[in-house]
């Protein structure tokens, strides 16, 4: 098992503002799987993703990624963990505005001792012709491609995607999802995608549905729909 999540609890606030977001989540993801976490607003899906990515701490429980327990890690160790194993894709891209596409990707290239080849990645992501453009010169989809490239360049074993298509139109969303699918196939990257979009669940290996801080249901798709064929994105 590549990712094991055991009885993870997380709360915010104190007193009257106390909210327990995760109430004992248990689940797991196999290596190379694409996994979608779904749920309504406030169900705890982003919080769970942040805990897996070491961006947020959990109150209790255990998250083991590729055999490494991340509960109780110090900030510096978490930073090294992210540096070595993770890639992040965000809804709002978060590209460095005054760096070109290529430069934005290069920022993370140096983080890995064994990065992917830049040209190949640009080619795979269809960014070759845009590589010298600044984010402000790109469309939303192109910016997200750039963000994906930035996340992938360091060849992460686990790619965490927080609403990767949330700010994109349907076609662009499909393109991005197709891209992710290709990457998964090509690089065997384990992917966890947090999304509201109900269609995306059909393209992944495993679906986890959270409700009120608990895993309500989880299942693996016996038949996956290719991303290019997804509807209602």
């Amino acid at each position: 098992m590549y990712l094991e999540i055991k009885d993870v609890k997380k709360s915010y606030g104190e007193g009257g503002s106390y909210v327990q977001v995760l109430k004992g989540v248990n689940t797991c993801v196999e290596k190379g799987q694409m996994c979608v976490i779904q749920g309504t607003s406030g169900s705890g899906k982003s919080t769970l993703l942040n805990c897996i990515g070491g961006l947020d701490t959990m109150d209790s429980g255990s998250i083991i990624v590729d055999g490494t327990e991340i509960y109780g890690m110090k900030n510096n160790t978490l930073s090294e963990y992210r540096r070595a194993k993770l890639g992040f894709i965000f809804q709002f891209y978060n590209l460095v505005p005054n760096l070109t596409v290529r430069e934005n990707i290069q920022v993370c290239e140096y983080l890995s001792e064994n990065p992917l080849r830049m040209e190949e990645l640009l080619d795979v992501l269809g960014l070759t012709e845009h590589q010298n453009k600044f984010p402000s010169q790109l469309s939303g989809g192109q910016q997200q491609r750039c963000a994906i490239a930035r996340a992938l360049i360091k060849n992460p074993k686990l790619l965490l995607c927080d609403e990767p298509t949330g700010a994109l139109d349907s076609n662009t969303s499909r393109d991005i999802l197709t891209l992710l699918e290709q990457i998964n196939e090509k690089y065997k990257t384990t992917m966890i995608i947090v999304t509201h979009n109900n269609s995306i669940k059909n393209m992944v290996h495993k679906v986890i549905y959270l409700k009120d801080g608990l895993v309500k249901t989880e299942y693996e798709n016996e038949v996956r729909v290719p991303a290019a064929e997804l509807e209602d994105l």
Binding site: L55, R82, R83, L99, V107, L111
Partner: protein, 1094 residues
Amino acid sequence: MRKILMKRYPRELKANLFRYLSLFLLITFCMFLIISIVDAAERVIRGTERNQAESVLEDGQITTFNPFTEEQLKEIEDAGITIEPHFSFEYTLENGSVLRMFVNREKIDKVVLDSGKLPEESDEIVLEKRFAEENHYSAGGIIILGEKEYKITGTGSSVDYDAPYRKLSDTIIDSSTFGTAFLTKEGYDELKKSGGSGEELTYAFLLGDHTAAEFKEMVKDFEFDYKKVEDPYYQELLSDTYGKKDEIQDGINDLVDGVDELADGVDELKDGTKELADGMEELYDGSVELYDGSVELYDGMKELKDGTKEFRDGVNELTDGVTKLEDGANALENGSNALNGGLWSLNNGTANLRDALRELNNNNAQIEGGADQIFQAYLTTAQNSINEQLTAMGMPGISLNAENYSDVLSGLADRLSKAGMDASEINDVKDSLNGIEAYVNGVKQYTGAVSQITEGAGSLADGSAQAFSGSGSLHEGTVAFRDGIAEFRDGTGELTEATKKLDDGAKELSDGSRELSDGTRELSDGVKEAYDGSIELDDGVKELKDGVKELKDGVGDLKEQSDEMLDKLFQDSPDNITEFMLKDENNRIGGAAGDLQMNRSVGLLAGVIVMVLFTYVLSVFVIHQIQSESSVIGALYSLGVRKKELVSHYITLPTLVCFLGGLCGGLLGLCKFGSDTQMGDTYSYYSVPWFGMMVPFYLIIYAVAMPPLVSALVNYIVINKSLSRTALSLLRNEQKVSRRNNIKLGKMNFINTYRTRQFLREIRTALTILFGMIISLLVLMMGLDCYVLCESAGRLNSEDVKYQYMYSYKYPTKEPPEGGEPLYVQSLKKEQYGFNLDITVMGIDEDNPYIDVKTVPGKNKIVASDSVAVRYKVGVGDKIIFSDTANDIDYAFTVADIVPYSVGLTVFMDIDDMRDLFGEEDDYYNVVMSDHELEIEEGRIYSVTSKEDIDKAADIFLKLMKSMFVTLIGASAVIFALVMYLMIAVMIDRSSFGISLLKIFGFRKGEIQKLYLDGNRLMILLGALIAVPVSKYFMDSIFPSFIGNVACAIHLEFPWYLYVMIFAGILATYEVINLFMMAKLSRVSQTEVLKNRD
């Protein structure tokens, strides 16, 4: 990654070109100013050091009355001391300016030429460069001295006159009226003959291995014939001083002789008192004996008196006895008559008695024979009876006689009793015999008595016969006795008379002896007192003698010491030295370097302070950038980028800007426009050679490294916190809600509430503006303080100087000149900030018309000028110590009052107390003030100061400082304007979302301006209200240290209008900036809201 991120820098710079460029320029400008000032200071300081070494700067100079002889010079040189005559005289040119002429130097203080060559002919001259500049002379030109033309072969300077003060007491260099010139020896001598006056015989020296004191002593030991000194005033002084030596010595010799005589007299007196004491002792002993005798006499008289009394009593008793004796004698006569008659009768009777008794006596033998017979008869009868009875009993008989009957009968009775027989009969016999015997004895007694009576009667008859005849004689005797007694009675009457006289005499004698005793006792007491007195007198005279001996010794010592002192005063003191001054005491040497020391230290410090401000401004930009890139930074953190990598990234750009600004400013500061320009002030004031390009290594490091280091430090401190947030927090762009944002504002209208919230949100930026305002105001205050100092110094000096002329005497006359007000002025020293400044102690009369100061009596009481009080921070009642460094004496004074007086650093004393304190004569003075020019012999005068000179000096000072305070005021305005512009611009940038939103909501331009800009006006105004007094106070506190080497009053009070101008300037600057900001506000697009959410 750094490589990739570095690509952001040019883009960042391009995007914020004005912001970074303006800061870069500001840093460059400030570093240019600082580096140029510091480098100029370094060039002058180090250049002066090098020049002093190359020109062989003197160790000091000595001025003499007479030139050293060849032998003396040789002795000096032989001792290893290098000496060179630097004789000089002053020559007044036609325009009134004065040239001090020297022979060209060869060994010490060598002339450094700026142009031309040294003089070789007697008509060639080199002029001191500043004098030449001010009077438009140049190498190759001509100068007319007297009637002769001199060819100016060059212009230059000498290290002993780099601050060419005419007098050492001058505070302002005026090269238009004074300079130095150098000629050949021949040229010098010729010119001196043709009109030079008052030659100063000064030698410059290099001490070698010797100390200054050793050299001075050596010169003092040189033979000096003071009579050869040509100066008549000096001779006059000598006659008033050294001429007194003999008088003083004669006086002391007289004193010694007098003391010798006194000692002799006291010796004699001592002998006399000794004799007197001995005599008194004897007299006292005699008086004691006399007293004892008088006491004995008195006792004898007393006894005599008692004896006469007893004698008188005896005479009285004798008289009484004689009277009684007379009576007795009469009675005795009468008795003897009666006795005679009785004796006659007795004689008759006794004769009859005798006869009768004789008859009776004739019958006595018969009576006694009868009695014996009876007793014998009775014994025989008894014996016979008893023998019969004894024979009857068979016992032997007894024999009885008159002698043994009692014993025989008693023995017999005992035997009978023992034999148990009755002895009563025997005892009866015995008793009977005893009776008879007693009878016989009685008869015998009777006959014996009759016989005796008969004999007595015979004797009585004889006696009575004789008594009868004796009584006849007795009667005759008693008659004669009675007559004798009568004569004796007459004698005792005379004796009684005599005794009375004797008694009276004895009484008088007793009284006399008592008076004599009292008298001798008083005499004795008196003599005792006289004796004690004579002893005391002797002791006193002895002490007097000791005292006189000590006096004699003291006078001997006095003579020795006074001889030594006189030798010192009149032989040592009138040595050949008129002035001995080491290079450190000579304010003409190193004046330029000394003045610029402060520039260097203040400049370096100011650079750091200004850089802190600029880098803080930069850090505000960076913080703004970090906030705007918060989510990007969060994403990068998420991807594993470390904080330190981003910290170094964000620090790099401001540090780079600072580095480049420092580098450019440094380069500019070191180039011709920089330090050369800064040195212009030095070259236009001091007489120093041109110091070429010099770049101290530390200054390069300072210019290149200090700005980026300060930037890195400040930015690290500021940025580190912002980048310490978690990745998630940054991703979410969470804004920390600080307490200040939660302040409840109460009931305020919307505009004010919004403004206040905006202000609280931007308080960091507001504080930066305030900080910038304080820094720029500090610079402004420095410039204004300079201006105010110069302006007030000139104005107040002019007001305080009420005289037209002040003459400082070298040789004052006995009486001050007519129309002149005498003062006694003494120069002492007081150290502050490492500078030993001259304090003028001015002794004045109460009615001095030129000094409106009421002095306080007392040798240690001074009235301090406010310039002294302010500089040394003393108030009334405080103690202050001034030093006489030449004589190594400290004087402690109490400040009795403080008065406004701004000329130099002056304190006032009562002139009499001051003369007393400094040991001068009661009429001594050395300065005269006057309201008109006085005719005083030039040779007596050390210097003349006119009011015009003082006014002129103030003008020069103001002119000299003008460029400095204009630069400072300008720099402060630029700093303030730029900092304010940049910070308000940042405020608007940070608020662009809100501004955009308000525009979308339909707020008008004026309303948005009210919300975002007008609040700043209040902030600037309040900031100014705080920053102006704070910066003024701070600058006033440190400003005195900037001018620590200038002995002048420090009046830094601003007139009210200056404050108004400062506030007006601040507000005007703000309004101009505000105009730019309004334009910027207009440029904020409504789409900003959307941008921020993309």
